[in-house]
Amino acid sequence: MSLLRAMIVPGWTRIIPGLLLCVVFAFVVMNIDHMLSKYHKADVASTRIPDLKRRLALATAAGDKKATVRLGKALKKHRKALKKAGGKVGQSWSWATFLYQKLQFKYVAMLLLGGILIRNVFGVHKIFRPGIAVGRPLIKPGIIILGVHYIWSDVLRVGGAGILLAAVFIFGTAIAVMWLCRRFGVSDGLGGIMGAGTGVCGVSAIIATSPVVGAKPRDMAYAIGTILLFGTAMLFIMPYLGQAMGVSQSQFGAWAALAILNTAQLIAAAEWYGDEARNTAVLINAARIMLIPLIVVFAVWFYGLKSKGQDIGFWSTMGKKFPVFILGFFLLILLNSLGLDSLGGPKTAGTPFWAMNAVYKWFFAIGFAGIGLSISIDDMKKAGGVAFLIGSGAALAKMILGLIAVLIIGSQLLRVTGGQ
């Protein structure tokens, strides 16, 4: 009963206006995204159908059964796309292709850019702020539901590579940043949380490490400001960089999970790049955030901290700081791996997991709306000074080294198959 009471924060009704704003914003943008996608697919179909018909006729005449079936399926898919847009072969919707494919103007970009624009140009009344802050973590149920996309062999393969990559980059970055901060006279409090934030997982790691290293509220604002600024920049730059360099979907997912410092932002970047990228990013991020308790313990050791009345033993820290929602994610992976008929799978029509697969994107959309609407340029300006330079330098180094690492590892080890 007391747990139930603890779940409900006093004054919870304050979140309603902001949460509704996130939901409405997400609804509008998802509809625009759906419309752009529909006309883009119709545009592609309009040009491809004549070619497919010709090739199908050739394949049928040649008696190539495999090609006939494959081409037949593709033709059916394109005809369906054209019918949805109410169009005919020869019609063009190049504006949709330009926006959706060339500019990658999808729901992720619209929610983030739109949210930033609304927040910083028009402003968001303070009545909405509590609800917007609640909107952001709604990405977590989306991540849990995404568990239906994976099976255990994915976790062992991609997760194994991910844990190794994550451990090397996390501890390498944290050590480098903490050492540099000490070297340049930055306070232990700010250095500790910068190390945790740029090493592990941005804001969560900062919040987890702050009380242990005695960081001041101003230090937290600097650290969070740096993380947000860099995370936002990388979120917009990396997908375009990745496409320009021909980085594969799974490689990009791994790269985003290593280089972008905030769960919500890295999922946004990976989702923007593609479904495969997102699947890999979520799994590697799961490996990364499980290391948050370890980085807290590491900070204690690095700064030679005494307990100061806090219980900062290893198991106590693990218990307090472990991201519990990840257990839900792994439970769904386990259930999917069992292949139960009663639950089905994300591609098996009429089953619960198939239905859940239709839902997760909406949690992401509300979460991205919350992110966009909460990015204040003023807050980001709070980041400054030596700690900002060190943190940014470390984040940039991690981005470059992470890219090199995923290019060397290659796509296969990082690809989530989902049992397909």
């Binding site: 779940m7 004054g11 509809n31 759906h34 977590k140 149920p141 991201p323 929602f325 198939w354 859940m356």
Partner: protein, 54 residues
């Protein structure tokens, strides 16, 4: 104006914000699973078709 009781404040303080978020996430995902167990076709149709007006 409604005042917040001290016992309510105490109960809320026993969970960190992150833990509270995580538990709500698990609760919401569980709710989605239950609803999808009961009516998978309706849920799929709603989120893939009905909800889109454009």
């Amino acid at each position: 104006m409604k005042t917040i009781s001290s016992s309510d404040k105490g109960a809320a303080a026993s969970l960190t914000p992150e833990k509270r978020e995580d538990l709500w996430a698990i609760l919401i995902a569980s709710g989605v699973l239950v609803v999808c167990l009961v009516a998978p076709d309706a849920i799929h149709n709603f989120f893939k078709n009905l909800i889109y007006l454009l």
